[in-house]
């Protein structure tokens, strides 16, 4: 199996959010109790029970015209995933075959180091404090199926396939910016754009924390010494801010 990817094309996204519902359905995730916050975007953020969502970006361009962009917000499945590197208990893993970054909740100790390390602030935690995020429907992929979000998307705004082929096709179709092609070892979720990533509220030049290796080493050492890692411990040592 070659490295897999989801190619996201916001120009084709109509914001129907079938992907959000399909994700909840396949993964059997409960609905959030939300309220209208003066926007159609909901839930307002990723959570331990919301692995993907569409950002509704409303703006007025230089001609004074309104634009409404719909951009998928989820784990980007980095080629060099900082979360996997920092996880002191190897609960986070990168699938060698497909490049999917997945996790084992049974191994997770809930220290939240992965969130601190993530260049995109993606990992969230369930009510038991265990890691939760998009796992690319690795169960479906390994069974030869496409991820639920891609399967349900009516407009091919989320397309699943072999990463190289998807990128080649997108380039041939005239998308000048392929966000994620090279970033962080190449992302497993690639955005096909016709304008700069900034226009779509995508982080430009995302970077892993500089001292990632040292931090990972330190966490592993602490565990060896019998320290029970937790978000508060990570705060004490300055790994989690705030």
């Amino acid at each position: 199996m070659a490295r897999k990817a989801l190619l996201i094309t916001p120009d084709l996204c109509v914001g129907c959010r079938g992907c959000q519902v399909a994700c909840k359905s396949w993964n059997d995730l409960p609905a959030e109790e939300t309220k209208n916050n003066g926007t159609h975007e909901n839930p307002p953020d990723l959570t331990g029970y919301t692995y993907n969502r569409i950002r509704f970006i409303e703006k007025v361009n230089e001609k004074g015209e309104v634009q409404w962009l719909f951009v998928s917000h989820r784990c980007l499945h980095c080629g060099e995933p900082a979360c996997v590197e920092i996880c002191p208990v190897k609960a986070l893993k990168k699938d060698a075959e497909t490049g999917i970054v997945y996790y084992d909740k049974n191994q997770c100790i809930g220290c939240q180091a992965c969130q601190a390390a993530c260049p995109f602030n993606i990992p969230r935690y369930d009510k038991n404090g265990k890691i939760s995020k998009c796992h690319f429907c690795i169960d479906r992929v390994k069974a030869g199926l496409s991820p639920a979000c891609a399967k349900t998307c009516p407009t091919e705004a989320i397309k699943y396939g072999n990463r190289e082929e998807l990128i080649k096709e997108a380039k041939a179709e005239g998308y000048s910016v392929l966000y994620g092609e090279t970033e962080l070892g190449g992302l497993g979720v690639v955005y096909a754009l016709k304008a700069s990533p900034k226009e779509y509220n995508l982080a430009e030049n995302p970077k892993k924390p500089e001292n990632l290796i040292a931090m990972g080493q330190m966490l592993r050492t602490l565990i060896e010494k019998g320290v029970a890692l937790s978000p508060s411990v990570l705060k004490d040592i300055g790994l989690i801010k705030g």
């Binding site: 120009d11 084709l12 109509v14 914001g15 129907c16 959010r17 079938g18 959000q20 519902v21 909840k24 359905s25 409960p30 609905a31 959030e32 109790e33 939300t34 309220k35 209208n36 916050n37 003066g38 926007t39 159609h40 909901n42 839930p43 409303e58 007025v60 015209e65 309104v66 634009q67 409404w68 962009l69 719909f70 009516p154 407009t155 091919e156 179709e173």
Partner: protein, 809 residues
């Protein structure tokens, strides 16, 4: 739809007006985006609100709600003035060259009225709305289009004042955007260019709803876009099976297959047939409705079986009759209920306490009933109306019965989508608890009613007792129903007049072409005939072949009529049978083999110019597409009238504010304002969003959908928000002459104010998906503030434009 969903990919120009496919029909965008991406098609969105569809548009034109006819009238003028119509098409295939009665007068002559208006009855006498006929009874024509009474000249005169300035002044749309849209649309008046129109409730829910659609139909005829791949006039139906329910006779004025409901004065079958079977003197017109007698007789045979005989008028007398000059539309029903004239009501798969305009009147009307039966998936605002806001259960006598039914995945049957495609759906899971499929509830109900009539008699038991009803004792075999809808022989037919073959009693008829008017065939709905033949259930077919590449997918399920994927397709070829556009040939005459190839043609007859050839619009007695809409209640040409409630004047016809024959009601709870009221200075409009469906009974109870759109909202522009001190997320009160509701404000640039007649027009948009019952903080129905003033043809309500005010809660 004249065409179908996949066909949207074939268009050069996709016009979205009065619709919002991305939000309400998301799958359509697969084909629209494909057309844009693969062949550079232009998507035009004309809408008061910048929608999710507009986010994908090549050109977005904002307009004031309810001003579509001004915009489209201006487009007709633009096409005529610049001679951009498709000449060969309009001369051969439309009535544009036909001469109209010289006594016919239009709004340009009569200050906004057509000839025949009676101000007392607020109705038209249509005596002058007709063609001039020659001595043989054939409409007179002037192919030079110069005769002052020819339709071309009348159309030109009718729209002469719909100038760009006037259109901008009325609609509030920027002039350059209007012109740009006109240019793009009119560019398709060439044989090799085609535009499609996608519309929905944004056009129909007006007091000029039918005329909105007619205006665009005229444009599509002028541009030669009807019958073409990538063209047509396409109603995007708002419910997955609403096309099917309309086809099956859901509305009061039609029986299954669009056969008119009998009226009291049509005393017997002979009269019914005389009145409803059109005749034509036009030699090349196929006049398909000449077959009406076969369809009504076969329908009666399906209803009454062996009890229906030639001698007893095939039981025609058993059919309920409408009183003459009386309508029984949705709003008439609730008006009668409100006035205590209706004792019992079945709310089957519906939630009128939220779905109906001026819902307060409906909620009060329900309390006048003796009994109410609600058949639904969930208890809702209708079944629980008696404990709703402002209700005192102690004072309500209505006895309510709730029958839980199976959902679409818990039963099998056909579902007919917008493209007339009937697809068979299988049962996936058993219904929970005691929920039953609708057909089984109906079956039990029928058997019980029959039993009561048998035991107790009654005023007129025969229509029930003699029904041909044999779908199963308790369990209903739904394929039996489907087979009856297709039709079958009720006796052996030796040497059938169509093919001289012999058919046995009980055999399925091959298609409606084989139906007869002598009682030897039964057919539950003639337009579905050929859907379930001796070869089996065609709706179950799943063939994926597409030899033309046009996306016809002729072996996928089955569509009416006769599996014809694009109707009026004989208009896609020239009079010799060659496609106007050889790149997109829907059908083509194969001269060698003397037959059509491609889609199922509108009749096997040779092309028009050949011997035995026929005109393309086979359902019309004239055989041509009609620009002159003489059958309508409110005039043969779409005319600009303001919405009933509107803060603006009618600039075109100052003496007539709103559609002079629009219907209004007059009970104390029918509150509306003609024109303007300073208490309600803004224009309100209602709509739907992707995440919810209709009154939200199904979607509000689906937590994954509710989390996406949890509460009723009101979209307003930043300027008005600032003026009123409202911020996004604030709770606001939206009021109208009918009452007020709360909503959460969404302050957005997507619903910008327009300059209309020199002043700002602020708009407030609200979805109608919510109800007081669930969820707790979701809000109530937007229909509590919408008016029940209605279109005179269809009696649909004007919920797309009415006057409102807004304040911070």
């Amino acid at each position: 739809m004249t065409n179908h969903w996949v066909d949207l990919k074939n268009a050069d120009v996709i016009i979205v007006m009065g619709g919002n496919p991305a939000e309400n029909h998301p799958i359509s965008m697969k084909w629209i985006l494909k057309a844009q991406k693969e062949k550079g098609a232009k998507l035009l969105v004309i809408d008061p609100k910048f929608t999710r569809t507009a986010s994908k548009a090549d050109l977005y034109v904002p307009i004031r709600p309810g001003t579509d006819i001004a915009f489209l009238g201006g487009l007709i003028k633009y096409i005529i003035d610049n001679e951009l119509y498709f000449k060969e098409y309009v001369i051969n295939y439309t009535d544009l060259s036909y001469l109209v009665d010289p006594n016919f007068k239009g709004p340009e002559d009569l200050d906004g009225y057509f000839s025949g208006y009676d101000p007392k009855t607020r109705k038209y006498d249509k005596a002058t709305w007709k063609y001039q006929l020659d001595e043989k009874g054939v409409p007179k024509k002037d192919p030079t289009l110069k005769d002052p009474n020819c339709l071309f000249q009348l159309l030109k005169k009718h729209y002469r004042r719909y100038t760009l300035d006037m259109v901008a002044e009325i609609t509030g749309a920027p002039k350059e955007k209007i012109l740009e849209a006109y240019k793009i649309i009119a560019s398709t008046g060439k044989p090799n260019k085609v535009a499609t129109i996608c519309y929905a409730m944004g056009w129909t829910q007006h007091t000029v709803g039918v005329q909105n659609v007619r205006a665009m139909s005229i444009i599509q005829l002028l541009l030669g876009n009807i019958g073409m791949a990538g063209g047509g006039v396409n109603a995007l139906r708002g419910e997955s099976n609403v096309q099917g329910s309309t086809d099956m006779g859901l509305l009061f004025h039609v029986l299954p297959g669009y056969l008119p409901t009998p009226k009291a004065s049509w005393v017997d079958l002979k009269t019914y047939i005389e009145v409803n079977t059109p005749k034509t003197a036009e030699p090349k017109s196929l006049n398909w409705w000449k077959n009406r007698p076969k369809y009504i007789v076969s329908l009666l045979k399906a209803f009454y079986g062996d009890n229906a005989t030639k001698e007893n008028d095939f039981c025609y007398g058993y059919l309920p009759k409408l009183d003459d000059n009386t309508t029984y539309s949705w709003y008439d029903i609730f008006d009668a209920m409100y006035k205590g004239k209706i004792k019992g009501f079945f709310a089957w798969g519906q939630n009128p306490a939220c779905s109906s305009a001026n819902a307060n009147k409906v909620r009060k009307a329900l309390s006048k009933l003796d009994w109410l039966v609600c058949v639904n998936l969930w208890d809702n605002e209708t079944s629980s109306f008696w404990k709703g806001p402002g209700m005192d259960p102690k004072k309500i006598k209505t006895e309510v019965f709730f029958l839980p039914c199976a959902s679409s995945v818990e039963k099998q049957g056909s579902i007919t989508n917008s493209g007339r495609l009937a697809q068979w759906r299988y049962k996936a899971v058993e219904p929970p608890g005691k929920c039953m499929p609708d057909a089984e509830i109906m079956n039990e109900l029928y058997h019980k009613i029959k039993e009561l009539y048998q035991k107790q008699g009654g005023v007129f038991p025969d229509p029930i007792l003699k029904l041909n009803w044999n779908y199963g004792d308790k369990h209903v075999d739904i394929e039996k129903v489907a087979k009856e809808i297709n039709g079958y022989y009720t006796k052996d037919v030796v040497s059938h007049p169509i093919d001289k073959k012999t058919y046995k009693k009980g055999q399925q008829v091959p298609s409606f072409v084989f139906l007869l008017d002598d009682g030897s065939t039964a057919c539950g709905n003639w337009i579905f005939s050929a859907s379930f033949t001796e070869a089996g259930n065609m709706m179950k077919r799943r063939g994926k072949e597409d030899p033309t590449g046009l996306g016809l997918y002729s072996n996928w399920a089955w569509c009416w009529p006769l599996n014809r994927r694009i109707i009026y397709n004989r208009a896609s070829v020239d009079p010799m049978g060659n496609p106007w556009d050889p790149q997109r040939p829907v059908i083509k005459w194969d001269a060698q083999n003397k037959k059509w190839v491609g889609d199922v043609p509108d009749g096997p007859q040779p092309p028009l110019a050949m011997e035995g050839g026929v005109l393309p619009f086979i359902m019309k007695p004239s055989g041509v597409g009609t620009i002159f809409g003489a059958g309508l209640a409110d005039g043969p040409f779409p005319t600009y009238y303001e919405p009933v409630e509107s803060p603006f004047k009618n600039l075109l016809y100052p003496k007539v504010h709103f559609n002079p024959v629009a219907r209004t009601y007059d009970s104390p709870d029918d509150k509306f304002v003609v024109g303007t009221d300073p208490k309600y200075p803004y224009v309100g409009t209602t709509y739907r969003v992707t995440e919810h469906w209709q009154t939200g009974v199904m979607t509000r109870h689906t937590p994954w959908l509710l989390e996406l759109e949890p509460q009723i909202f009101a979209e307003i522009d930043p300027e008005l928000a600032k003026e009123k001190g409202i911020k996004s997320g604030d709770k606001v009160i939206v009021s109208s002459p009918r009452g007020e509701i709360w909503a959460i404000a969404i302050v957005t640039e997507r619903i910008r104010p327009l300059i209309v007649q020199g002043k700002k027009c602020h708009m407030i948009g609200i979805p109608w998906h919510y109800g007081w019952k669930f969820p707790k903080n979701g809000g109530d129905s937007a229909n509590l503030i919408t008016p029940n003033v209605v279109d005179p043809n269809t009696f649909i309500q004007e919920t797309k434009c009415f006057i409102v005010n807004i304040r911070k809660a």
